[in-house]
């Protein structure tokens, strides 16, 4: 028995060594968490581009949407780190840089002429501590209005004609009278939080937004008319919440619009995937626009990083991967599949639908973009904002004053 155990151990040792020895220099491990149809279609475009550079893609999919990304840490610890990994959290890049990993791409981007072609907000989102370490892949706008054209016609309203959020809210009674839910909402802290930050950016603009969501929030901003206004808008939306919206995921919420029960949904433009999966055509079956009267759009950049610090051949291959993924044509095609918009201002317009065009227009407005809170906000503070707003959402007896008091109290607890 003992011998047998030893033999198994020996066999295990041999088996463990084999894959390491056989991996080729040009095989790059790409770690991500994307498995839905539109995401995989986008990945296939990227894979093709990598293959065109003569390298192969070894896929490692693990679902992860927590900022900390435990699996990545584990892989690095176990000595089998991926060459490219999807992550947007600056903290993860800082940790990796502490280990001499997460390659600084600042010089390489200038060399291949990518830097000046990224949207300014993308340059900002891709930079951690003054170094461009991220490969921007897919750019999403956190709050876009997608509406069902059929319902709009039946209800006799035209969302494209709205010039402000107030005009949007003013149409709510007419929509309800026609028997539709005006705004589909999902009662989850995440959806309420996203609605609020998108609305704040849209109605108050970058200055107020960054004072609330910046790395060091300014407590003087809590009790301003602009923040109050955004809170009131959240209340107006919470009044539309139907009982079944409680804890409803965003997918299902979007589906109530697709199914013709509600007129529109304000969500990140990733909801386009749901529409396309249902066989709907942008511009024909559904319309899309940024929040009416937008002063600024909040932008999420789904980004990758590359390891760096590898043997020369692999380092070279990793840079090839970067060049392949930020190529304007590849980027445009991949983003078309994913439902997002290319982070490059010079991306080929041939691969853009109506929704992309609306997004591109909003991104070309000078000083009209802000970063998604996950990229800039202290995570405790961000959580606190979500909690306060979700309480407000669920408890109709709370007023804007309660939210402002809640902000102040949490600010004191976190930064005080």
């Amino acid at each position: 028995m003992q011998k047998r155990v030893l033999a198994t151990m020996a066999a295990a040792l041999l088996m463990g060594a084999a894959p390491v020895a056989s991996s080729l220099a040009e095989e790059l491990i790409v770690y991500h968490g994307w498995s839905s149809k539109s995401e995989v279609a986008a990945l296939n475009v990227l894979q093709e581009a990598l293959n065109a550079k003569g390298h192969t893609w070894k896929d490692l999919a693990i679902p992860h949407n927590s900022g900390v990304n435990v699996s990545l840490v584990n892989l690095v610890t176990g000595g089998e780190p991926p060459n490219a990994f999807v992550n947007s959290d600056p903290g993860v890049f800082r940790d990796l840089q502490g280990l001499g990993l997460a390659r600084d791409l600042t010089d390489y981007y200038s060399e291949i002429g990518a830097t000046e072609n990224f949207f300014p907000i993308i340059r900002e989102l891709s930079t951690v501590d003054g170094k461009m370490v991220k490969i921007p892949l897919f750019m999403h706008i956190d709050g876009m209005v997608y509406w069902n054209k059929d319902v709009a016609a039946k209800a006799g309203v035209d969302p494209a004609a709205w010039t402000s959020v107030d005009a949007m809210l003013a149409d709510f009674p007419a929509i309800k009278a026609a028997g539709f839910v005006p705004a589909a909402v999902g009662g989850q802290a995440f959806q309420v939080g996203y609605l609020f930050h998108a609305m704040l950016a849209a109605t108050a603009g970058p200055e107020i937004y960054n004072r609330l969501y910046g790395a060091e929030p300014d407590p003087a901003v809590f009790d301003t008319p602009e923040v109050r206004k955004a809170i009131e808008i959240v209340r107006a939306f919470s009044n539309e919440a139907t009982p079944e919206s409680e804890n409803r995921p965003w997918n299902e919420t979007t589906n109530t619009v697709i199914a013709g029960q509600a007129l529109f949904h304000i969500m990140g433009d990733w909801m386009k995937g749901e529409w396309l999966a249902a066989g709907k055509v942008p511009g024909v079956d559904f319309g899309c626009e940024v929040i009416p009267g937008t002063k600024a759009v909040s932008v999420t950049s789904d980004a990758m990083g590359v390891l760096g610090g590898q043997p020369e051949a692999i380092d070279k291959a990793e840079l090839d991967l970067v060049a392949a993924f930020v190529d304007p044509v590849v980027s445009a095609r991949a983003n078309q599949q994913k439902g997002s918009t290319s982070p490059r201002a010079d991306a080929s317009t041939e691969y853009q639908d109506d929704c992309n065009k609306a997004a591109m227009a909003a991104l070309s407005v000078p000083n009209g973009q802000v970063a998604n809170p996950f990229n800039i906000t202290d995570s405790d503070w961000h959580n606190a904002i979500w909690t306060v707003l979700y309480d407000f959402w669920s408890n109709k007896s709370q007023t804007a004053d309660d939210v402002i008091a809640g902000f102040a109290e949490n600010y004191e607890a976190i930064f005080g």
């Binding site: 040792l13 463990g16 894959p19 995989v40 176990g78 089998e80 995937g273």
Partner: protein, 303 residues
């Protein structure tokens, strides 16, 4: 001795013979209670099963209790054969075979390790046996997450990180405390005379184990087998953490198929995938369930 035996995990209470009685308020209350308990599990299960047979168009209508019209098996076939886990769209079957490849080495290692340890601790005079048992018992309460990073470093030092054997070793080690206790308690019930007689016939440690003790352990082996198959099959974190590339168990593939952050969700496929993943342990319960109860009761009554 009988005290320690009572500590063996009893998942189902032994069935007591029922006395024939008429309908009393008490029995009605019990029936209602049981019906509520059953509904607690059956209603979600009903939703899962019906959703898996629906088309996405019907699911978008949002009525989760409706019957599938038209009825379609596409979601099941897609989940098995073509659902995407990352860039690879070969369905859950990839994870199924990976899970199988993980299951057998893990089972063999954990059963071998803990049965021999239990046997030695129960029937041989091992120095510090009680102290060792105490430490083992304490280890059963250490959460895996706490020792995860050190284990990764160890397994990477042993060059088994990222392989099926890495997963198997970690399963074997982590299940050792509780399984050893089960085996030890069971073997404690074997009369000392048997051991004495075996030793007089000059049986060695291994020979007694293989020729006398193992043939007597069928019941407990089945109990442990069921416990282990279920826990290995349902495990997510160990397979994910120690599997590395290409050895992702079915639970991880399932998570890839089902979890979506910014992608669209195919609920019918997700439900079918969840059911497919749950089938193997269920089958084991149906096939071996009878022995499970026998094994548990044998362990509890003996000694």
């Amino acid at each position: 001795m009988s005290l320690t035996i009572a500590e063996a995990p009893v998942e189902r209470a032994p069935l007591f013979p029922r006395k024939k009685k008429g309908i009393t308020p008490r029995s009605i209350a019990i029936l209602v209670f049981l019906a509520i308990c059953a509904a607690f599990f059956c209603v979600p299960l009903y939703v899962i099963v019906t959703t898996s047979f629906k088309t996405m168009d019907q699911i978008r209508q949002g009525d989760i209790f409706s019957l599938p019209l038209p009825l379609t098996f596409d979601a099941w076939w897609n989940a098995w054969d073509s659902a995407c886990s990352g860039i690879r769209c070969d369905g859950l079957k990839v994870g199924f075979w990976n899970s199988m490849a993980i299951l057998f080495p893990s089972l063999a290692l954990s059963l071998a390790l803990s049965s021999v340890t239990g046997y030695a601790l129960a029937l041989w005079n091992v120095k510090w046996a009680n102290a060792f048992l105490f430490i083992l018992f304490m280890c059963a309460f250490v959460p895996f997450q706490i020792i995860m990073i050190p284990l990764i470093i160890l397994s990477s030092g042993l060059k088994v990180y990222g392989t099926v054997w890495g997963i198997a070793i970690v399963h074997a080690v982590l299940s050792m405390p509780i399984l050893t206790l089960i085996f030890r308690n069971y073997y404690k019930g074997i009369p000392h005379e048997i051991m004495s007689a075996a030793m007089m016939d000059s049986g060695s440690f291994w020979r007694i184990f293989v020729e006398i003790i193992l043939p007597m352990s069928a019941n407990i082996l089945i109990v442990v087998l069921i416990l282990q198959i279920t826990s290995i099959w349902n495990d997510f974190l160990i397979g994910l953490t120690f599997g590395g590339l290409g050895t992702q168990p079915m639970s991880v593939v399932l998570a890839n198929v089902v979890i979506t952050t910014t992608g669209e969700a195919a609920y019918n496929e997700n439900m079918a995938a969840a059911l497919l993943t749950a089938i193997p342990p269920l089958l084991i319960y149906f096939v071996l369930g009878r022995f499970f109860v026998q094994g548990i009761t044998a362990g509890a009554i003996k000694g």
